[in-house]
């Protein structure tokens, strides 16, 4: 599943953070809603087995038209 354009971090506690993360995995859990008394915004968590994930940037139209 390795992709040549990615930089792999494989140690425990290595983290990535981004507006959008693409995740590919052999097995994906159903999302779990996470909330506590202090958090204003809820979050969801999924567990992925045999997985790789990467940060994706959004693209906008450039100066030249298609």
């Amino acid at each position: 599943m390795s992709k040549p354009f990615l930089t792999y971090h494989t140690n425990e506690n290595d983290a990535i953070s981004g507006e959008r993360i693409v995740l590919e995995a052999r097995k994906l859990s159903k999302p779990t809603a996470i909330s506590d008394k202090t958090s204003r915004h809820g979050a969801q968590r999924v567990k992925a087995d045999k997985a790789e994930a990467w940060i994706e940037r959004a693209y906008v139209a450039g100066t030249r038209k298609f």
Partner: protein, 144 residues
């Protein structure tokens, strides 16, 4: 009560003039206080059947009312299968450009994963095409 009266050979009248009529069918109550009604056992059986049917319909309506939530849950749990097509950059590029032309008319930004999923192309291939289009100034990274 009326059925028992009829079975016992009593008066076939459900209600006599001047008395409060017995409600056999639940629903809208009227202000009528005087009426005479002859009910045969067949009619009573029909009423009983109708009551059963109404209850069954009520149960169905209740099920239908709760169904949209269930359907929504099923949809979110459903996995969309994308069959990835094997293509070269030369073959895929016109498809990606055509997709982007339309997509960027309606959307301000686009992610490579959106294109890969929509067109059923390998992510690496789409990313490579995005890199080429970025070099050609047709695309640029947002905020970059």
């Amino acid at each position: 009560m009326a059925e028992e009266q009829i079975r016992a050979g009593g008066t076939p009248f459900l209600s006599s003039a001047g008395t409060t009529p017995t409600t056999l069918i639940e629903g809208e109550k009227t202000e009528i206080t005087r009426f005479r009604m002859f009910i045969t056992p067949e009619v009573l059986a029909e009423i009983s059947n109708l009551r059963t049917e109404v209850n069954a319909l009520k149960a169905t309506v209740s099920e239908i009312k709760t169904e949209p939530e269930g359907a929504k849950r099923d949809l979110t749990e459903e996995i969309r299968v994308v069959e990835v097509k094997e293509m070269t950059i030369e073959e895929a590029r016109p498809l990606v450009e055509e997709f982007l032309r339309k997509y960027l008319e309606e959307n301000k930004q686009v992610y490579p994963s959106d294109v890969a999923d929509e067109l059923g192309l390998k992510y690496e291939l789409v990313k490579e095409i995005f890199d080429i289009l970025e070099k050609e100034d047709r695309l640029k990274k947002r905020g970059g």
